[in-house]
Point group: C2
Chain length 119, copies 2
């Protein structure tokens, strides 16, 4: 019998709130996670540990929870790992173009920062 304590709950598509999504994306660490997931082939999942955040593991757990509760990512246990994927379909259906716009904006900002560094 499956371990009840290891089931994670996610908001249904209809319960995903724009404000929560924007708030979740407004933290650099969480934006980094989303950027990482967005670069994977659609549908692909990775373990939390595949993403190297500049914070401790417990803080990482916290950020993943914020992303999950906002509806940005889905997570399932797979052995010892917890696999994470972007909820592209849900986000695309609710807020068409939003995720792309944020990722494009992020890429542009990062590009500008890099250019400034290079002088």
């Amino acid at each position: 019998m499956p371990t009840a304590g290891r089931v994670l709950d996610h908001p249904a598509r209809a319960d995903i709130r724009l404000e929560s999504v924007l708030h979740a994306l407004s933290d650099p660490a969480r934006l980094q996670v989303v950027r990482f997931l967005a670069e994977l082939p659609p549908g692909e999942e990775v373990a939390c540990s595949a993403i190297d955040l500049a914070v401790t593991k417990s803080t990482t757990t916290h950020h993943f929870r914020v992303l999950r509760e906002a509806g940005l990512i889905s997570q399932v246990y797979r052995g010892t790992a917890k696999m994470t994927a972007l909820r592209r379909a849900d986000l695309g259906a609710l807020f068409p173009g939003l995720l792309d716009a944020v990722l494009t904006a992020d890429a542009a900002q990062r590009h500008r920062s890099a250019a400034r560094q290079d002088g």
Copy 2:
């Protein structure tokens, strides 16, 4: 001679950060302000008092400051009023499509809420 204490400082275009913009937009009251400003003809300014938020004036002041410091709006004193406008050009140059995507997402979410109410 102009009163020094009444000059408001705004971040330069290059200093506007995506994270701050997303954070500013993640509050319902501030999103309401941006929605209101976005519906005006481009370049048009309004006084703070033209936007009716469900909070006190001091809280309104707070939200306007957050929006200004994030680079979303510009504000200038014009007599006793403080005129506010969306920084469309700066936002469009830095993060093309972002503002539209957020406003579209907000409109869609509001539309869904209304539909749910109507049954």
